[in-house]
């Protein structure tokens, strides 16, 4: 499936799940800060992506979880180099340059943009059997 096609479908999912206007959904829009998503919305988005693309999304697969409970990955509310490297592995093609300047756990949500979802779906659709 072409990236453009994935992007358009993802846009539709976000419009339905978050009640935002199509114009608000841009590749760099941050899901939480710009589109106003709350925690339950991530499960809603995940369900809608599964339906739209015929894929299965496991817990923590789209948005890494449980990093904060591992002291080798998070110390004093900041991601350690080990934590950042794991995050990079789990969120390929994401721009970490801004985050690395201030790697607070609270800033992790800023990494999660519309493009992150498109990248994720692209990897899932590409590997689907």
């Amino acid at each position: 499936m072409a990236r453009e096609e994935i992007y358009e479908k993802v846009k539709g999912v976000l419009v339905d799940a978050l009640g935002v206007d199509e114009e608000e959904v841009t590749p760099t829009a941050v899901i939480k800060d710009d589109l106003g998503a709350e925690s339950i919305d991530f499960l809603d988005i995940s369900f809608r992506l599964e339906k739209a693309f015929g894929i299965k999304i496991g817990k923590g697969e789209m948005m890494p979880e449980n990093l904060a409970s591992d002291p080798t990955k998070v110390q004093n509310g900041m991601l350690t180099p080990v934590g950042i490297s794991e995050l990079k592995e789990r969120m390929p093609r994401t721009d970490f340059s801004e985050f690395e300047k201030d790697p607070k756990v609270d800033n992790m949500s800023k990494l999660f943009t519309v493009d992150t979802i498109v990248n994720f779906v692209e990897s899932k659709v590409g590997t689907a059997v």
Partner: protein, 160 residues
């Protein structure tokens, strides 16, 4: 007052669908609070009736081991008012269900006429609110909810 907005189940297919009914009586206090001299069932309580129908369906799917919380009203479109003397039918279908929660598509009708289309999201809070502590016992599914399902299941075997 008991916080229960459905009277009984008339259909229950585990992990798939459930249908419940509620008979609306003029004796219910809340009908008179919205518009004086024009009693109707508030839309919020129609959503609550659907949430109870669907919530029990979602809870049963995991043997009532999860604390199932209504987390989001994704959509609620209303087509008609509900008046005293009418019977509301709540039909809920599980669209998706996983360890974290469920999404539901529901329709509400009176005498076959569409009243509302409602989509809901339920969260299994122990799976989603990591770090927050909740009481160990399942405070969501109190006896008044589980009794509804027991009554439905017993109806087939009781003969008077």
């Amino acid at each position: 007052m008991r916080w229960i907005w459905i009277d009984k189940f008339v259909e229950f297919t585990p992990r798939k669908s459930a249908t419940a009914i509620k008979n609306v009586s003029l004796a219910e206090e809340h009908l008179h609070d919205l518009y004086p001299a024009f009693p109707i069932v508030p839309h919020s309580l129609i959503i609550e009736g659907m949430a109870q129908t669907a919530g029990i369906l979602v809870g049963e799917a995991r043997n009532f081991e999860e604390k199932v919380i209504l987390a989001k009203v994704s959509r609620a479109t209303f087509h008609r008012l509900v008046r005293p003397g009418e019977t509301i039918t709540f039909s809920a279908n599980i669209e998706q269900l996983n360890e974290q929660g469920a999404s539901i598509a529901g329709t509400v009708k009176v005498s076959g006429e569409p009243v509302a289309d409602i989509e809901l999201m339920f969260s299994h809070i122990d799976q989603n609110m990591a770090g927050l502590e909740f009481p160990e016992h399942n405070f969501v599914f109190t006896e008044q909810f589980t009794e509804l399902l027991k009554t439905y299941r017993m109806n087939g075997t009781i003969t008077l």
